[in-house]
């Protein structure tokens, strides 16, 4: 069976004052219907650019898709017209953003904003669309949805707004739902509720979810499979349990060891030393080499490929050579 969404060798480039930099380099990912793919990595690793590429929302200029393909049920989204892309956005592909506080338009009621998404893709009038919007608000767990639909975003809490965003995103029953750090801006208790809601929505609507996060806890809660990204490349990919229990790449190991665990007697928060290198300074070697304890000469001379060296695919010379 071919996957619902297939990203193949995607390359995205941006024009910057340092010249053209490659923000995504040979990124390949697949998601099947009803599956949740977690994409993890630090800020600046290319997670959000991947999501915006799928939505066709890369700011252009300065950005452009420089190569590869994004296929939704076989249709290459990098080659379709803007009108076709608009028809897919919101209907087949939907996205939930990180900042519920600023992602809703402050001058329209939340009911109208959901109704607009419905009217853009279905042939219904405003009255019907608004009724559907109220039903969706009810579905995402907003109390007295009738009244809330007439509220403006500033009258709702952060958690409520994210529920509104989810209602809007699933209003046309999209086949792919991208959630870009959907809980980062929310309280921890609200985070768990939002994850539960996303799981329920997936069960009801059968959507494939791409969950973008830097939070390994969210991954263990939600994801079936995980892709770990670093400096614009996928460096490890496998079932969520495999990645969490048997991380291969030193970066993934670092991410997992950074999760503070209660009751383990850890006294210090761990971190991975250093930061993601700026994209215009990437050399010929492994982008993680500078921060890696297993670095050797080969790491500086050639980029490792994402291949299976035993347990599951990882892009690391040290893993390939059996050094770790």
């Amino acid at each position: 069976m071919s996957a619902l969404l297939e990203i193949e060798n995607l390359r995205v480039a941006f024009n910057t004052r340092h010249g053209e930099v490659t923000a995504l380099d040979s990124v390949s990912l697949t998601v099947n219907a009803g599956e949740t793919l977690g994409v993890v990595g630090e800020s600046g690793c290319g997670k959000s650019i991947t999501a915006l590429s799928v939505m066709g929302l890369i700011p252009s200029p300065p950005g452009r898709i420089a190569g590869g393909a994004i296929r939704l049920a076989g249709e290459d989204l990098t080659r379709v017209s803007e009108a076709r892309m608009r028809a897919l956005r919101g209907a087949e592909l939907a996205m939930i953003f990180q900042e519920p506080m600023t992602s809703l338009n402050p001058v329209f009621t939340v009911g109208d904003q959901i109704a607009e998404a419905i009217m853009l893709h279905q042939k219904v009038g405003h009255a019907q669309a608004f009724r559907d919007a109220v039903a969706l608000l009810d579905r995402v767990g907003i109390p007295s949805p009738d009244r809330r639909a007439r509220d403006y975003p500033h009258q709702l809490s952060g958690g409520m707004r994210q529920r509104v965003m989810i209602a809007m995103a699933v209003s046309c029953r999209p086949r792919v739902l991208i959630a870009d750090e959907p809980t980062t801006a929310l309280d921890v208790t609200v985070q768990a509720q939002i994850f539960d809601l996303l799981n329920e929505i997936q069960r009801d609507f059968g959507a494939a979810i791409i969950l973008i996060t830097h939070d390994m806890g969210a991954i263990s809660e939600m994801a079936d499979r995980v892709a770990v990204m670093y400096a614009g490349r996928v460096i490890e990919e496998a079932d969520a349990d495999d990645v969490l229990d048997h991380p291969q790449h030193p970066y993934t190991r670092g991410l997992i060891s950074c999760i503070p665990a209660l009751g383990k007697g850890d006294t210090e928060l761990r971190e991975i030393p250093g930061v993601v290198p700026p994209l215009h300074r990437l050399g010929a070697g492994c982008a993680f080499a500078e921060r890696c304890a297993h670095r050797n000469g080969r790491c500086d001379s050639g980029k490792p490929l994402l291949v299976n060296h035993g347990h599951h695919p990882a892009a690391c010379h040290a893993v390939q050579e059996g050094r770790i």
């Binding site: 929302l57 956005r89 001058v107 998404a117 809007m168």
Partner: protein, 325 residues
């Protein structure tokens, strides 16, 4: 919109008007010149006794505070006094001329906002594009050029080169007795050049302002949300973005209204438009205090009403302001 908000604003407006009346009264007395001399001059000159008689006739011999008290008393009774020069009640003089001024000012306001905002929005779509550059240049030039110069250039252009618009007055003499429809079209035809001249300077400001405001708004998260739900570009620009970008435009529109009225004075003089501007111009030259004060009174009232409307339209445009005082 609460009734108490409206009531409070109305009271503010009235207090403000009272202050304006007092200030105008004092300021005009501080200006050099003496109406008695002007009137005596029109009569062919006179001696000190005649000047005293004129001063006594118009109540100018009383102490300033007494004069102010008398003036305020009559204003509160709705009496703006009698013009020294035209020998008519000021209210009648202004009543005959306020219509053309309001027509000119509102036309210029609407024209400058609609056209300016449209140009600004189009320019914001491609901030580095050719059109954006053209709008910036036109805006700078429009802002820098004095309104009477623009007016005179347009008169030269349309009086001799392209005689398609009338360059003087508000109505054609031969059409004065025609039907309502024909007269309306005739007035609109006469309105084109003065309204455009007056609008140009503000149009430029609205274009710049709405370009900047739109660029700001177009970078926000909710615009990305609108794109993500598949909204077409015109809806992104004119619905999602413009509504948010309109707040600073409204602010400026309210504040500019006073400038627009003073600009109308020049434009009316250049185009011989029969409005309050020319009345103000003539009565200032003649030190016709009651008429000058009456014109200023109405001009201030128009500004106060415009500011009230701005406050109200804020609340319509931005739901976050509703329910606040």
């Amino acid at each position: 919109m609460s009734a108490s908000f409206l009531f409070r604003r109305l009271v503010y407006g009235l207090v403000l008007m009272l202050g304006v009346v007092v200030l105008n009264f004092i300021l005009i007395r501080l200006a050099p010149g003496d109406p008695a001399v002007v009137i005596a001059g029109e009569m062919g000159g006179g001696d000190a006794a005649l000047l005293d008689a004129i001063r006594a006739q118009y109540g100018l011999d009383k102490p300033l505070l007494t004069q102010l008290g008398i003036y305020l008393g009559s204003i509160l009774q709705g009496d703006l006094g009698q013009s020294f020069f035209f020998n008519q009640p000021v209210a009648t003089l202004i009543g005959n001329r306020i219509g053309p001024t309001i027509l000119l000012v509102l036309s210029a306001q609407v024209l400058s906002i609609l056209l300016g905002v449209f140009l600004g929005v189009i320019a914001a779509r491609k901030p580095n594009g050719v059109l954006s550059g053209v709008v910036s240049v036109v805006a700078t030039v429009g802002y820098a050029v004095p309104v009477f110069w623009t007016g005179i250039m347009l008169i030269i252009l349309f009086a001799s080169v392209f005689p398609i618009f009338p360059v003087e007055g508000m109505q054609s003499v031969r059409l004065r007795d025609a039907g309502l429809w024909v007269r309306s079209v005739d007035i609109a035809h006469h309105l084109v050049l003065p309204a455009f001249t007056l609008a140009l300077i503000y149009l430029a400001q609205y274009a710049r302002l709405s370009r900047a405001s739109m660029l700001d708004v177009l970078g926000s998260d909710y615009i990305r949300t609108a794109r993500a739900k598949g909204a077409p570009e015109h809806s992104i620009l004119f619905k999602h973005a413009l509504r948010n970008a309109s707040l600073p435009i409204l602010t400026v529109a309210g504040l500019q209204f006073g400038n627009l009225i003073s600009g109308a004075l020049l434009v009316e003089t250049v185009f011989n438009w029969p409005g309050m501007g020319r009345l103000a111009f003539e009565s200032i030259l003649r030190r016709d205090y009651p008429t000058v004060l009456g014109v200023l009174f109405f001009a201030s009232a128009m500004v106060v009403v415009a500011n009230l409307l701005t406050d109200l339209s804020y609340r319509l445009a931005d739901p976050r302001l509703r329910g606040k005082t």
